[in-house]
């Protein structure tokens, strides 16, 4: 994973960043070797928030294990649940009603927006600007309210079931989302004036943390990190699920490969998600919100794999079924783990400030890295 542990010469400082540190966004532990201000080596140490989610899933039924995954990448819990529901549907060949698919996509895109908003605010904090955080949370709060109305909770929604969604949309859903869209559109330009156009911010981002498309692929990066290096990898386009193929949206690609490109990809994805929501909002098909399924789900013997695009990249769910009530083995391929592994490559030889800023643009969620 890491190229090699850099040699330590006299005068080098070895610093433990984390597990308690303001910029690691959780319990990530980085051992960094410094020569003055220059970073010589970055070595992530994992395991501080390992909860053996994969093992836990093996003792839960196919209906139950979906909800443990909300605790992996807690900022895109809807999408995690969706991935698990999809793998069960694939195994049992369940047809998901169109209405349920539309609801899933709406929720997933709202989640993606909420996640990107939080990332934008946190990136601001990483580069030393505190104000964006509060502005981002103002908009994110509205999404959380929408989620609370329909799903009952604000962060770990647990809304997906095999064959559809748990309950129908709240009657106010469309009205609330429209209010959010109006509000968001009036604010998105403010984001550009406050952060994107700022000369200090651009200097902190441009040409920093560069990774080429080839290197990013070999590290297994996915999502906005890989797309910022000019590689097409959006699962919503490559292997559409839940009716993404019927929607008009653009896969956001930037070719810069630096922190600024990663920043732009996410900012443009916010607008793409907004356009997906706008397309679907007034055209939610009538019908059932859940397919009729048996009370006890027993997939046939075999191996099943699905992948979805979360806010951070590609989430793969691999299930081995022995035909029993519970999965024999479950493995998650989480985007954060691979993206983190490229951190050393991106930041070698840069300054401490760049390390923090680059880590911010990777959009790491630590419980997603350590399952």
């Amino acid at each position: 994973m890491i190229e090699e542990v850099g040699t330590t010469t006299e005068g080098d400082l070895i610093i433990n960043v984390g597990p308690q540190h303001p910029s690691t966004h959780g319990v990530l532990h980085l051992v960094i070797t410094l020569n003055g201000e220059t970073v010589k080596n970055v070595e992530p140490r994992l395991g501080y928030i390992h909860r053996s989610i994969e093992k836990m899933c093996e003792s839960l039924t196919y209906r139950q294990f979906i909800y443990v995954t909300s605790r992996m990448d807690y900022l895109s819990s809807h999408i995690n649940n969706q991935a698990c529901a999809l793998v069960v549907e694939k195994a049992l060949k369940i047809e998901v009603p169109e209405r349920a698919q539309a609801i899933r996509v709406l929720m997933a895109e709202l989640t993606r927006m909420a996640s990107h908003l939080l990332w934008w605010g946190a990136l601001g904090m990483d580069v030393g600007a505190f104000t964006p955080f509060f502005h981002a949370f103002r908009e994110r709060e509205l999404i959380n309210d929408i989620m609370e109305e329909t799903c009952g909770t604000r962060l770990t929604m647990n809304y997906m079931v095999p064959g559809g969604v748990m309950a129908d949309l709240h009657p106010d859903f469309q009205k609330k989302v429209k209010e959010f869209i109006t509000m968001f559109k009036s604010k998105i330009d403010e984001y550009d004036t406050l952060v994107t156009g700022n000369i200090i911010f651009q200097n902190r981002m441009k040409g920093v943390g560069y990774i080429s498309g080839e290197d990013a692929l070999s590290y297994g990066c996915t999502g906005p990190v890989l797309r910022a290096s000019g590689v097409k990898c959006d699962i919503r386009k490559l292997a559409p699920y839940d009716g993404y193929d019927k929607l008009q949206f653009e896969e956001v690609i930037e070719t810069g490969g630096d922190s600024y490109a990663r920043y732009l990809v996410r900012m443009r994805e916010l607008k793409q998600s907004l356009s997906i929501i706008e397309q679907l909002l007034d055209n939610i098909p009538e019908g059932d919100f859940q397919a009729k399924t048996k009370a006890v789900l027993k997939p046939p013997k075999g191996e099943f794999y699905t992948r979805v695009e979360t806010a951070r990249g590609e989430l793969g769910v691999y299930v081995i079924s022995e035909g029993g009530l519970t999965p024999y083995r479950i493995k998650f391929r989480s985007p954060g783990f691979s993206n983190l592994s490229a951190l050393h490559h991106m930041t070698k030889g840069s300054k401490i400030g760049d390390l923090v800023a680059t880590m911010g643009t990777l959009d790491l969620v630590i419980p997603d890295i350590d399952r």
Partner: protein
């Protein structure tokens, strides 16, 4: 007219009538040092409160609004909490230097209050080299910061302190150069003379282009010198947790904290004095009637108004801008501000010789 000059004169005469000159000097010094300490505390509390309110309104929050009337007692309550909090000294720290550092920083901040003219006739020490004194004393605070960073025996503190050293030493040049270019115009280092020279208009108007350039450079340089965002490399929360004061807790942390705000006040007061006439009301040339109306506003209001407007500007920087990287910070100084400052000094000198100012 409301003037503090009469008050100080009365006290001075009353003391002189009853005691000998040495005793009078000692009593007056004691009074002034009490005044400086009180001012230090009050300024710290007021500015921390102001910062919290300013940041709150920029961040769509309300800020402190529970303790006391409109939350005014919040900072006092916080300080009280810090006073009764245990001040830890790390085992591996150099105990003497560790405990000394906050006092160095605090005493420097208090010393800087001495030559500032708060109102007409309200100045602790009107020395003839006032501006030089301020530039000299303010550079001592870097020793306190280096001491704190080194003695803490913490790697974050050390990096923070070294950054701070590089930064303060660099930016002092620009701050000094921009002051010197104004001294060329005023022809005096004494603050009271600088203020009276602005009788017919503030230097920012009288000195037009070079004065504006010098003012902009001065504001950037002092923001860096006081370790404020976007130049808060020494603290850099997201990089170094708390920089040079990572290991400090309780009142010793509060000393650093309050000293930072008092330093902001001092540099803004200097900027207000040199560029905006200090306590001098807004006068335009020989418009006697207009000038007379302006004189009705007490001089202390003019001084605090100007100073707090500049403080607001510095707070505005902090809550809008991201932080610079350490090499960008030094590039900005050595490649841009310093050459521009030197050129500006030449320009000002030429203008002063040719008399092309108002």
């Amino acid at each position: 007219m409301l003037s503090l000059e009469n008050l100080t004169h009365t006290i001075d005469q009353a003391l002189n009538r009853s005691f000998g000159p040495t005793t009078v000097l000692l009593v007056e010094m004691a009074m002034l040092s009490l005044f400086a300490i009180a001012l230090f505390a009050v300024l710290g509390l007021v500015l921390v409160f102001m910062e919290r309110k300013v940041s709150a309104y920029m961040q769509i929050r309300l800020g402190p609004n529970r303790v006391g009337y409109k939350g005014l007692a919040q900072t006092a309550a916080d300080t009280l909490k810090l006073v009764i909090k245990e001040g830890l000294t790390p085992d591996s720290a150099d105990k003497f230097l560790f405990n000394l550092a906050p006092f160095v920083v605090m005493i420097v901040a208090m010393l800087l209050l001495a030559p500032i003219a708060f109102a007409k006739g309200c100045q602790m020490w009107d020395m003839n080299i006032g501006v030089l004194y301020i530039t000299a004393v303010s550079s001592v605070s870097v020793i306190g910061i280096l001491m704190a960073g080194w003695a803490s025996n913490n790697k974050y503190s050390l990096i923070g302190a070294m950054r701070s050293g590089a930064q303060i030493v660099s930016y002092e040049l620009s701050a000094g150069l921009s002051i010197i270019s104004m001294i060329v115009l005023t022809g005096s280092l004494q603050l009271s003379t600088i203020i009276t020279s602005q009788q017919d208009g503030w230097w920012i108007f009288k000195g037009h282009i070079p004065a504006v350039i010098s003012f902009v450079i001065f504001m950037i340089a002092v923001t860096a010198e006081t370790n404020r965002a976007p130049f808060d490399m020494a603290e850099a929360e997201s990089e170094l947790t708390a920089g040079f004061h990572t290991e400090y807790s309780g009142m010793r942390f509060a000393f650093f904290f309050l000293a930072e705000y008092v330093n902001i006040f001092v540099v803004c007061a200097i900027a207000a004095t040199i560029y905006f006439g200090g306590w001098m009301p807004f006068h335009i040339g020989h418009w006697e009637a207009f000038n007379h109306i302006m004189d009705f506003i007490p001089s202390v209001v003019w001084f605090t108004g100007k100073t707090f407007a500049l403080i607001f500007l510095i707070m505005w920087f902090r809550w809008t801008f991201p932080r610079l990287r350490v090499d960008q910070l030094l590039n900005l100084e050595w490649k841009y501000l310093l050459p521009i400052g030197m050129f500006n000094l030449l320009l000002t000198t030429a203008i002063a010789i040719l008399g092309w100012y108002f």
